[in-house]
Amino acid sequence: MTRAVAGVGAICCLGGAVVLHAAQERWSPPQVDRPELLYVRSPAVAKRTALSYGAISADVYWIRALQHFGNERLAPPEHVRNYGLLYPLLDLTTTLDPYFSIAYRFGAIFLGEAYPGGPGRPDLAIALLEKGIAAQPGKWQYVQDLGFVYYWHLRDFKAAAATFQRAADMPGAPSWLRPLAAVTLAEGGQRSASRALWQQLAQSDEDWLRSSATLRLAQLDAMDIMEAWRQFRRDRGITPPVPNDPSGTPFVIDPATNDIAVARESKLFPMPGQIQSSR
């Protein structure tokens, strides 16, 4: 057999395999929702099997965590969202690389996010941040994030203020943390304190934190609009037309409560007040 014949044979076989592969996709049954699997669940086992390649293994798990969160969050509405693997993936990531700041900080935001936008597990967000604080006790950012979880997700303003105070006392902490702690404690969770916190976070160096803060500030603006709408209805006794929310989507009147609410199609959904009703 000449070399040319062998070469042509190889190309033909490869071409045939590609064609068959493409054709098979049309014949195969429709895809079903298959649950994702996590083969290694124990962080201790993962750390050992990674040998001296813990950091690169942590990167792989981090990318998997991002993909898992993104896939569930952006899945079509008929898909039942299940964020069950998020915490195990973040736990593995941070065990393999205990200094992976963004995995603690971003991970806590993911975990605390209300269902269906996230798993709605502020308890796990706290556990993750406490793990980060144990690994890097001098990192005031983790303590600040912890205070934020108490403030935003758990509405425990006393714990939030104490945690912001703890962060403010740490070396290198920015000067705005101390007044924030005071404002949080004094106002007991009023919107102005929340706005102050998010405006500080909107100055962050991290893109994701800035965009998250922008969204939260828009949610606070939406709350102001809704409050003004309710006030108008109370004062005048008539139901005014529903305005647009700050993302440009019209508000809706919730038939169950006859109250104004952010539409499900809005980028601002779910609002902090809508957490319980949408879970």
Binding site: R48, L51, S52, Y53, G54, A55, I56, A58, D59, W62, I63, L66, Q67, D97, Y99, S101, I102, F106, D205, E206, D207, W208
Partner: protein, 268 residues
């Protein structure tokens, strides 16, 4: 030592002939592809991940070269029977062993050096155009000189692995040498566990054996400062110097051992 130099140069040339450096092309492609893709997959952690990937790939590629080229350094000469004319020349067996070792070390030096340069080039292009405030938020600058310490310790790690492979290669078949070297490499990663064996075992004899293994087996975890360097955690020059001293002594022990075994071998 002129003979050792000639043997070393021959080993280096052979590695070029065997296309060992093809892995550099693979490494370059891996880094370029990763630097393009990772920005899309991660949340602003591209520089950290590229550093992790570059250091891990340098170490993995190096370990494979050290083991799979190292195990055949002596056994291939014996199998091909090219050892007979070689030893008939004025080449002492010690010079032969040292020359073989230095030749592979030179190959690994070129390999690690090119990989270091490639990583710095990729990091330079990644960091270019990133605003200063964002760069300040990184754990360590993109073109952090401390990365060189990590590369230096990776190279020393490879030098010890090469010495282990060469040691086994002097009296064992390539297959067994590969298994032994890989075994030592893996055990060397868990050396710290041997030290703490007394926490899980009560037998004094078992504890003594574990302690002895802890001190005698190479501690490869010493050479791993990748995580610290990537996160900008300072690694003292004293630590690097002490680890280099440890590597030199361990390599010395293995090479002397290899020379003793090889000198006693009968090639009749």
């Amino acid at each position: 030592m002129n003979a050792a130099r000639c043997v070393a140069v021959a080993v280096f040339r052979e590695s070029i002939r065997d296309k060992v450096f093809y892995n550099l092309v693979l490494f370059g492609l891996l880094l370029v592809a990763a630097s393009i893709l990772i920005g899309q997959l991660t949340a602003g952690q591209d520089v950290k991940i590229i550093k992790d990937l570059g250091l891990a790939a340098t170490s993995i590629f190096g370990v494979f070269i050290a083991i799979f080229v190292g195990i055949s350094l002596v056994s291939k000469e014996v199998e091909r029977r090219s050892i007979y004319p070689l030893l008939a020349k004025p080449v002492r067996r010690a010079e032969f062993i040292v020359g073989k070792y230095l030749g592979l070390l030179l190959t690994l030096l070129v390999n690690t050096g090119v990989m270091t340069l490639a990583l710095y080039v990729i990091l330079f292009f990644l960091a270019r155009g990133v605003p200063e405030p964002i760069q300040r938020a990184w754990d360590a600058p993109a073109l952090d000189p401390a990365l060189l310490k990590a590369f230096a310790l990776i190279y020393l790690n490879l030098a010890v692995v090469t010495a282990v492979a060469l040691f086994f290669s002097t009296y064992s078949s390539p297959m067994l040498s590969a298994i032994f070297t890989l075994g030592i490499y893996v055990v060397g990663q868990f050396n710290a566990d041997l030290k703490n064996f007394d926490r899980i075992v009560d037998s004094p004899a078992a504890i003594a054996v574990a302690k002895a293994c802890y001190y005698v087996l190479p501690d490869f975890s010493k050479f791993d400062i990748k995580l610290a360097v990537v996160h900008g955690i300072p690694v003292s020059n004293m630590f690097v110097a002490a680890t280099a001293g440890y590597a030199a002594l361990y390599i010395g022990a293995l090479l002397f051992g290899a020379i003793v075994i090889f000198s006693r071998r009968d090639f009749k």
